[in-house]
């Protein structure tokens, strides 16, 4: 047993979609969530910038005595995960490998896999590379969605703007089997995304897969916490940032009076 919390970070509200899944699948784990609202958005930053920022987030979470780190952010996973794993001893998990493993286990024949993500993630080619390593006969269709993360931070996830934006971005996914939501902000648009795809397309919320994957690891390594229950703490690097974080968090996690603390770095 390891009673220490799990650390989790994202650029803003996106990782809440991961936090939500962790609370369902790992109800006894305590989670320390860090939203780096001071540096949002990550999606348009350089690889070097993302790595530098991600190290700061990891260091902050380590200072809170966490037992592992979850990168609840598609951009940071795609651009920094490999380097971070080389730089730290603490276990660090991102959203890509568990998702690719999940798809591989579906044993689809020549799967056509759509990936929608931030510009930075798509440019990194990380999803396509990992998918083709594991499933060489897959066909990958990439789409950059530079507006969605900002729209989610603003709380615009079901208005007319969101509706037409999703409609536009889904146009290139006419003929796919699977759609990976390659940015953790995007499950907030899940209803609209489903509405604009063929019914048989499987839409992957990477948070659900990552939570399941983490559960297995924690159980195998006997790192479970069996004492607490669904506790979480939230830190933001900029409480005054241009995001509707508190409202979105309360609505999304179904809790009132969430206490948000400031992380100063």
């Amino acid at each position: 047993m390891d009673k220490r919390p799990i650390g989790m970070f994202d650029s803003g509200v996106g990782g809440l979609t991961v936090l939500k899944e962790f609370r369902k699948k790992l109800p006894n784990e305590k989670i320390i969530y860090l939203g780096d609202t001071k540096r949002f958005p990550y999606g348009s930053k350089s690889k070097e910038a993302i790595l530098e920022i991600s190290k700061k987030c990891v260091d902050f979470l380590i200072s809170k005595n966490v037992k592992m780190i979850i990168i609840a952010c598609g951009t940071a996973t795609s651009q920094a995960l490999d380097s971070l794993i080389n730089s730290y001893d603490i276990p660090i998990l991102g959203i890509i490998n568990p998702t690719v493993e999940y798809i591989s286990n579906l044993n689809l024949e020549k799967p056509r896999v759509g990936v929608i993500a931030t510009s930075g993630t798509i440019k990194s080619g990380a999803w396509e590379k990992k998918i083709l390593e594991k499933i060489p006969e897959a066909k990958v269709i990439n789409e950059k969605a530079p507006l969605l993360a900002t729209m989610a931070e603003t709380g615009w996830t079901s208005n007319k703007v969101a509706e037409y934006t999703i409609k536009e971005y889904m146009k290139c996914f006419k003929d796919i089997d699977i759609l990976i939501l390659g940015c953790t902000h995007y499950p907030m648009f899940e209803n609209l995304i489903h509405k604009n795809l063929e019914k048989n397309v499987k839409v992957l919320n990477t948070g659900t897969i990552l939570a399941q994957y983490t559960k297995k690891i924690i159980e195998t390594k006997k790192m479970e916490n069996i004492e607490t229950s669904g506790q979480f703490e939230i830190y933001l690097t900029d409480i005054e940032a241009d995001t509707d974080f508190l409202n979105i968090a309360e609505q999304f996690l179904g809790e009132k009076n969430i206490n948000i603390k400031e992380a100063n770095f």
Copy 2:
């Protein structure tokens, strides 16, 4: 007479709205335009980051032997102009002071002035401060528009997404006399903006005002170039960036085969 070119910079396509006005009002001046697409968007960056970036842009333009610098960017004007003026000898102009002077010269009684701009610009309070210094009885209504610059870079300036986004952002401007487009990307949405405001609202394109202001300064200081005609050169810090720059530039400036060079910094 001073035959050297005028230098101009923005984070991306926004400054083209200023370039267009300069070509109309100062047809003999040669202009060197720098779009810092590598670091776009500026709107969500810190003041320190904007200042550091702006210095790099100014240094690049000075290396091209320009006679003056035009900050064709609302965010960089609001956060960096004052410091830049203190750090350099070359004349540097931004979009705020000329616009505030223009409004002041309208001699309106208790003008109600709307400002729409990036998050960084609105948070800096620069527009409100300068307006109230000059017109203390003015009422200023501020609105952050975190999506618009990215939408303009994508070329989404007249589709359904743009339509509903503008409609949403215009809601707070029900009772104003003047609307300042505080980010140089926004004149690309001018038709939609007009459509969502009362007919009597004066919408200010800061590029038009800045071009007129610059013309006066150049004439007063006898810095005109009377030899060339409407030439311009365009540099981008990232030619592969996530922007539809070339198409937008060709469409917006009404020219074909625009040659874009890379600025390496």
